[in-house]
């Protein structure tokens, strides 16, 4: 039998690899900036484009979709070709995928800085970008399945399954969570409101972690760890169980982000149970990787690639042990809304994702450039600096999370809250400074990798098309042993695709369907009314400025939270919230019952200069809201969009909405004037004050009409 000659496309791997490094540095740099902003709010520079609320989504999107995304594409394009023994299906599709993704990143970054955001974490990109993502993702899918179909290797190696699972799940999550109604060329409202929106969002958010940050990385692990250790994976059997158990369990665990919120209890319980079960496949996978390396333990001492992989897998193990713990209600009661969550995430992001990527690049670049690593010593130093960076990042944040939570919950003997909110912040600022230093140290390590890799590229010569040969699939003899049913599935990638889809879709549906059925069953609280046009404009400014990155709007039913913020939040209060703004982190206090707490003039002064009203505040100034005019041209379209989504504004209200807006603005302006503040009624600050003063007041005003059972 004549083997066929063909060439692996290394160029696409190189391009995605370089994109990984470039965006990685950008994303981490923004991360370091916002970390310092939290300690020194003046670093927001008083201009919209550089404030925390806009940079934080830029940071998360850049590291998740640009750094990690490009790394997954680089790694998977390398792996597909090798384990399927063929060139990629289409070089053109590879190129469209590459440049399409970079375009998405650039457009996404610019739009986030300009304040175009859906206000849903990790899904902030607006509808035109959502469509671009869908198209590029489909192209990636066609290229991937095309390659699988023209392969010369009968079996699909387990790494490929993880990529198939990733592709299917991300497609589903992205589409379901992005249902939104555009009302202008850049802006839209989420189709879902309140509880539904929160549930869909965290089903998405959680599974973005699962299927964008975890499953593709396990795909990378199952290829690069055996390669670097020069031995097969410790147990192939485990890897099969690992795959099915992981995708099946992950998809259910989303509600653990919403414990103690206004989410149905059974859904919360489901989230907890499946989260705890997740330990098993996660640790199975981690051990499988570590045991593979153990066979080459002598090499770990010298080889920076293996060292990086060992720490990456250990970090994976730590994060996947901690995650289920955080899903227990009693732990979550303490950890939620604090920096504990941020620490947890970064053990995974810096440790697992970051180190897997650097290890992979240190392995790939010398091979594709047909040379050896420029400086092994420097890579080993990077390893040490990176590890120190992770520790200096995470330990202070764990401390900050604990401290702040305990302070929040502390009562004096006479039954008063012991600490003002502001005291709980000022006490953790030193931890924020340490964290920012830890992040900087990690970034220095990453820059060393850039230098080292660039030098390696320079010293070698790039092999754009790597020669290989294999016997064509059709000419290979069928194996003599009787076929097992799972082998049949493995050999039929399309069936594999469908089965994975079924697995994740059932999980998704069972979690979501009852919640949608609730909608029609929730007796809406009669006192809860749609936002006035001015409040709606204010709310959109709140979304635009990313206030949700620091403020929650969800009071949990705890004694301390009710004492601090007021009556706990009810599901029925959010029925007109497209999108929901519950938030996930309280760098500032909860705002759900902010309405009526302070006079308008307080808010005016506070937005202009938070430190003036709350000395020691970490909130940046929003003085441009005093200069900017409200975009009243958009009011009718916004009202109509809300009507389409079922918000009961009277018919024809869109035409008179701006009159209503002006009337309300005039009365706020008049009130401010009494307090010696002169401002015209067209300014954005008026809208945001109107919104803040409305928050949570429907229930305060009129307790008797509430249908909610206490």
């Amino acid at each position: 039998m004549q083997p066929e000659k063909f060439y692996y496309d290394n160029k696409i791997v190189k391009q995605f690899g370089i994109a990984t490094i470039v965006w990685g540095i950008v994303g981490m740099l923004v991360g370091v900036v916002i970390a310092f902003q939290l300690a020194y709010p003046a670093l927001s520079f008083g201009i919209p484009y550089t404030t925390f609320g806009r940079l934080r989504p830029l940071h998360t999107n850049a590291v998740i979709f640009a750094f990690v995304g490009n790394a997954v594409f680089a790694g998977s394009y390398y792996i597909f070709q090798r384990v399927l023994k063929t060139r990629m299906f289409s070089d053109t599709l590879s190129k469209i995928h590459l440049w399409g993704w970079q375009l998405i990143i650039v457009v996404g970054a610019i739009s986030l800085l300009l304040g175009y955001t859906t206000g849903k974490e990790y899904a902030e990109l607006e509808w035109p970008v959502d469509i671009m993502i869908t198209i590029v993702w489909v192209i990636f899918g066609i290229n991937m399945f095309g390659t699988i179909l023209k392969r010369r290797e009968r079996h699909l190696y387990v790494a490929i399954w993880f990529f198939i699972g990733t592709w299917v799940a991300v497609a589903m999550l992205h589409i379901v969570n992005s249902f939104e109604l555009p009302f202008s060329i850049f802006k839209s409202y989420s189709l879902y409101a309140g509880v539904q929106d929160a549930l869909v969002q965290w089903w998405y958010g959680h599974n973005a972690v699962a299927f964008f940050l975890t499953t593709p990385f396990l795909g990378l692990m199952y290829y690069f760890v055996p390669k670097a250790a020069e031995r097969p994976v410790y147990s192939y059997r485990w890897s099969i169980i690992h795959f099915w158990a992981l995708i099946f369990i992950y998809i259910w665990a989303g509600p653990h982000h919403l414990l103690y919120t206004a989410l149905p209890e059974w859904a919360q319980a489901l989230g907890t149970v499946f989260s705890v079960m997740l330990i098993l496949p996660s640790w199975g996978g981690m051990l499988n990787g570590l045991f593979t390396i153990r066979g080459a333990w002598d090499k770990v001492k010298e080889d920076p690639v293996l060292k990086m992989f060992v720490v990456a897998l250990t970090a994976y193990g730590m994060a996947t042990f901690e995650g289920p713990m955080l899903s227990l209600k009693s732990v979550n009661a303490v950890s939620h809304y604090t920096d504990w969550t941020i620490a947890h995430v970064h053990v995974g992001a810096l440790g697992f994702n970051g180190f897997m990527i650097f290890g992979m690049l240190y392995w790939l670049v010398p091979r594709m450039w047909n040379t050896t690593l420029f400086s092994r010593k420097m890579a080993n130093q990077h390893f040490i600096i990176g590890t120190i960076g992770i520790l200096v990042y995470a330990v202070p944040l764990y401390w900050a999370g604990f401290t702040q939570s305990l302070m929040w919950k502390k009562f004096t003997d006479s039954g008063q809250l012991q600490y003002q909110f502001i005291e709980t912040i000022t006490s953790i600022v030193p931890m924020y400074i340490l964290r920012a230093i830890g992040g900087t140290v990690y970034l220095v390590g990453a820059l060393m990798a850039v230098y080292n890799l660039a030098k390696t590229m320079k010293k070698g010569s790039f092999v754009a098309n790597e020669a290989a040969e294999a016997i064509p699939f059709k000419l290979q003899a069928m194996p003599a042993v009787k076929m097992h049913w799972h082998s049949v599935i493995e050999r039929k990638p399309v069936r594999m695709l469908i089965l994975s889809l079924v697995a994740v879709a059932i999980g998704g549906a069972i979690e979501l369907v009852p919640t949608f059925m609730i909608e029609s069953n929730v007796p809406s609280i009669a006192a809860v009314k749609p936002y006035t046009p001015l409040e709606l404009q204010g709310r959109d400014i709140y979304v635009r400025e990313g206030c949700y990155t620091c403020h929650s709007q969800m009071i949990r039913p705890f004694r301390d939270e009710e004492a601090r913020y007021g009556e706990y939040s009810k599901a029925g209060e959010f029925v007109y919230d497209h999108p929901f703004q519950w938030g996930s982190k309280r760098t500032g206090p909860d705002l759900h019952r902010e309405g009526g707490k302070y006079p308008d003039s307080w808010h005016f002064r506070h937005m202009r200069d938070p430190q003036e009203m709350s000395p020691g505040s970490l909130m940046p100034t929003y003085n441009w809201l005093i200069e900017n005019d409200i975009n009243i041209k958009s009011t009718p379209a916004k009202i109509r969009a809300m009507q389409t989504l079922g918000v009961p504004y009277p018919k024809g209200f869109d035409k008179i909405a701006n009159d209503d807006l002006h009337r309300q603005a005039d009365s706020i302006v008049a009130g401010l004037q009494k307090d010696k503040i002169k401002v015209s009624r067209d300014k954005e600050i008026i809208a945001i004050i109107a919104y803040l003063q409305r928050l949570g007041t429907d229930i305060k005003k009129n307790q008797t009409t509430s249908n909610e059972v206490h």
Binding site: E153, Y236, I241, F248, A262, V273, H486, N521
Partner: protein, 52 residues
Amino acid sequence: MKFTNYLKQIQNVSIYPLISLILFTTIFTIVAIYVFSADKKKMDDQAGIPLQ
């Protein structure tokens, strides 16, 4: 969080979490049976794919 009141109005809502658990257990058992009954040589062959 007296959501249960609304949930009572959805027929048989408890079936949902139950379906999840049953489904998961079934799949898990089937995969486990397969994995431990699989041919050793075949597993080794497949594990060796990246190293060829």
